[in-house]
């Protein structure tokens, strides 16, 4: 059973548009949610993260919105660039700084110019 789910599986936006990637989770003990970015042929790399005490985290063009009540998050990429084309993974981990991350299935983003 997938504890972290992402949608859509794939997304295409035009350069300059805002891409919205969605994530939901089931375990209410999850309290840390990193997003990883992966380019073809490479390993994932941490992009941005949020803890459950916040409802928003911003880093440049990347923003996480977090709704604890609904157990949902979204990653907004504003002014999307072709270089943002990658697969994005939402992940979650539990309390106590657990070393284990549960990853979603990923969203493949394509930014067309």
């Amino acid at each position: 059973q997938q504890q972290v789910r992402q949608s859509p599986q794939s997304l295409t936006v035009w350069e300059g548009e805002t891409a919205i990637l969605n994530c939901s989770y089931e375990d209410s003990t999850f309290n840390y949610f990193p997003w990883y970015q992966q380019f073809p042929g490479e390993g994932p790399a941490l992009l941005i993260s949020i803890s459950s005490v916040s409802d928003k985290k911003e880093d440049g063009r990347f923003t996480i919105f977090f709704n604890k009540r609904e157990k949902k998050l979204s990653l907004h990429i504003t002014d999307s660039q072709p270089g943002d084309s990658a697969t994005y993974f939402c992940a979650a981990s539990g309390g106590g700084g657990s070393a284990k991350l549960i990853f979603g299935e990923g969203t493949k983003l394509t930014v067309s110019s």
């Binding site: 042929g41 390993g43 994932p44 941490l46 993974f89 981990s93 700084g97 070393a99 990853f103």
Partner: protein, 113 residues
Amino acid sequence: DMKVTQMPRYLIKRMGENVLLECGQDMSHETMYWYRQDPGLGLQLIYISYDVDSNSEGDIPKGYRVSRKKREHFSLILDSAKTNQTSVYFCASRDWGGYAEQFFGPGTRLTVL
């Protein structure tokens, strides 16, 4: 330079052969991981190692074993490889405590014929 390395990058084996995948990190991280990545399934945790000779099963340990004799080195072993173990394998490491970032290697693409 913080880095996780994996060897080999590509490997083709026949069913029933033994497979050794190697991972190294230069950050003195205590915790290391092995994941496999398959299309539509995201990253699935095979094993986690908390330090030398302190290894725990992840979510899909069946058919795999690991060895960690030095903090900077973590091996994944497939005894008698099966065709359904064809996948891309990623190693990762992180520092202990809190919500530390996982650093991923570039991956090993394993094909079992």
